[in-house]
Amino acid sequence: MVAVSFIWLLALPHQGYSKRTYISENALLPGSANVRFDYSDSLAAEAYRDTIQRISTLSSYERAQALEQEFSKIGLKAATQNYTLNTSTDSKRGVNTYAVFYAPRSDGTEALVLSASWTSRDQTPNINAISMLLALGRVFKRCSHFSKDIIFVVSDGDADGLQAWLKAYHGNEENTQDRTEETLRVRSGAIQAALNLDFSGVGDYNAMGIFFEGVNGQLPNLDMINTVAAITEGFAPVELTLHDELIPYTPNLTKNYLNSLKRMLYMMKYQAVGSPTGNHGLYLKYKIDAITLYGFDKPGWHSSRYSLFRLGTLIESTVRSLNNLLEHLHQSFFFYLLSGVQRYTSIGLYMPPVIILGVSFIFQALSLWGHSSDLPSELAATAAGNKAAVALPYSLRSRNYKVASSVLAMSLVAGLTTFHLLTQQFGFPGETPLLKFAASVGVCSMLVFSAVSSAHVRDRILKSTSLKGKSVDKTTSLSSSAEPAPAADWIILKTFILALSALIVTTLSALNFSLAVSIGLIIVFPYMTFRPSHYKVLSLIQIVALIAISPPGLMFIASWWHSKDMSQVLAWVLEAYEVLGTWLLPTICCVYWPLNMAAMVMVLLPVS
């Protein structure tokens, strides 16, 4: 079953399993309308580019003010918003600027958002994107065909700025010690869709990437991506790709497969981690479909370069398509895996392997459960030992839950403790996340050590008492042999671990498929095959493997892979949890780690 699930998963990127994407929502009509963005608007965008370049070096507050003025000059209603955010590691403050274009002939109940942050994903000023917003504002002001208002948002900071703006827009602004978000003064209707622009620098680009994974692996409606893809194939020809990877097309079947696999793995990586790949991810929390368009320049790539002119037509055309929407995007898929801009695998095809994986856990747990009673051998023993004895239809062997349940309970408590240790502020001098992490690792290893040693001690005591008992009444040994010793503790514990793993993998697969698959694949071999052994070397190997897949081990591998400091990785995970509310940290601490600890205890339990 595990093999089937593996093969299925590997087959997913293959051409035969994915279909070509198509526009599902009839209302969108991508690229069917002429655009108003003309050469003079492109010149205006270039002029704005100089302005933005000048003001981007100012402080948060000053540049926000300057931008507000620029928006006002176009004739849009503009305003700024201050926010502060204190996390356990950092204190952030910034000023967002936003402006609303009120559609002249609509009722103002719906809106679209065009946003850009001051810093691009490559940490350079997002100059082209912001000047594009201003130029588009100028274009829209001339038009009368909008059914939705258009909101322009230029957010400060990374994700925190837009998060603050979105919270305030939806009336969730807070005014606590940790967070303050100023109430918005200018408003519009319900946001239907959003485009986030990320075009850093002042130059041209030769490719455009789409980032779409949101918080906790949420995805926007596939029609969002389809619309942009359709327009780039039409009158705004731009080399479009997923993320920032450009992989040349090859007719070679194996290579093609490998490329698809690579793209799919990229997507799954982003999805599993659960922190958004761009500011678009924040909209998804509010059920607003959004993507980030990222312009980048890949030297040596064959596609033609595009300037602000083509970019303007592309974005205006996309906005016009979205303007045609009659309701939220709902026709196309919300659950999909992309192996290319125009190839998708639907949920019906990718769910079975992970469910099979979960079921295989359950099956092994059940077989172990049966094994722990060991009815057939018991029957054989009674039949051989005493002809007169009546064979019972059930097992006499008792199961001892004490060790298994206490180990699981303790490891869960330890997991929760680590979670609290990591997220709480204690106010000790020199308190850093790494230190806290070290403390939690200490807690966990202490737990494993104490559980294993106490189990061994208990086992010894039990053995000695039973030996004593045997020596005392040797005459009645016949009756004692009829009552077999209870099943080994490790069998019961392993049953529990496997059952819990199945529960986690299947439940997670519905919430965040990629995370479920990665957890499932990491734990499937160790948890299924590992067992206590008489050979010290084998036990040692098993323990090392379990440590490698434990959270500290994984973190170490990740930091080594990305050649970063452990503390950086930790800070990033913590920030994602505190700022955006991703579930990665809680899942790891409260679900994954306890199971890992229990598995370690299981391996070190007496064999008996």
Binding site: N26, R105, S144, H145, S147, R320
Partner: protein
Amino acid sequence: MKPGTILRYIAAGVCLASTLAVSVTTNQDDVEGFFAKSKSGHTNNWAVLVCTSRFWFNYRHIANTLSMYRTVKRLGIPDSNIIMMLADDVACNSRNIFPATVFNNRGRHLDLYGENVEVDYRGYEVTVENFIRLLTGRVAKETPRSKRLLTDDQSNILVYMTGHGGEEFLKFQDAEEISAYDLGAAFQQMHEKKRYNEILFMIDTCQANTMYSKIESPNILATGSSELDESSYSHHDDPDIGVAVIDRFTYYVLELLEKVEKGSKATLQDLFNTYDYNLLHSTPGVRSELFKRPLDQVLLTDFFGNVQNVELTEFKESSSAEAESEPAVEGTTVYPDAAQNETRLKPEVQADVSQWQDHTFEIGDPNQSQTLRYALFVVLSIAMAGALFAGSSLA
């Protein structure tokens, strides 16, 4: 005067009289033919134009319907005889870059919404129920005249529908659908109630030909844009408006109709001959077995125009009395319970059939009256000839 000359006079008189008589008797056909340019026998024309689609991206369906509206109006059907159902108002949609206009061509020469468009059922009023009530005449008492199909057995009706359809159904506003059976039943009821003389049913939608497959009533000619499992396609976009502005079938039907004037002799056969798969990208269909007249004798203006025929009937004392009783049946006041209404109406309807037959056809054998007339003329002319002869001999 010699008897020979007298005989010659008499012979000449008889010849004259008989030719006169012959000319008079054949005259009636000529006269009817003069008034009734076609053999349809209708005296009034109605049009029911239905667009069942909502939403901005279905602009073309609204344009289809408005184009048809313009055509039938141009060919003389007055607004009072056109029932137009438009589900959505794209003209005033905020997405319309040219507010308060609807165009059916990229050239935008003709604003279909330009002047004096009368929409009888608008927006959410376009429902299957309202459509069937309209056809069968089972409308509520307070319904204004503009929302009633006040037809009689002398009415030729054009029923044009467009929207999104499928196998044996047509969607109404994404909310409900009318099936081919509903439509067939509605036409059957119209037939029973003598609400039409002839119907031309024209439909432009995907799998349109399935929609008329369940019509069983006589004198209905049906034509559709595409057969089973075929889509109907739009003709072209207007890139400024940003949507497709007309469907192929309607476009090519209109192409012919634009050349038709009020006095045109073009027939439906001419229209059906223009159907071309290469242009339409679908297989248009015609169902004519319910229709009695040969298609090459059916003028387009019998349905798309309002060329009035005058019916020549013998003056009869009783006919006026019958005529007065007739609106009571034809108006078909609606009662809340439809089933009750049916049972109540039936005897009346049947009684009405005989009345109408009396009314339409002359009593007695027409040939017989013709010979009588002939004899009368011969006698009269002999008498006249005698008088002439007497006068001349006196002189």
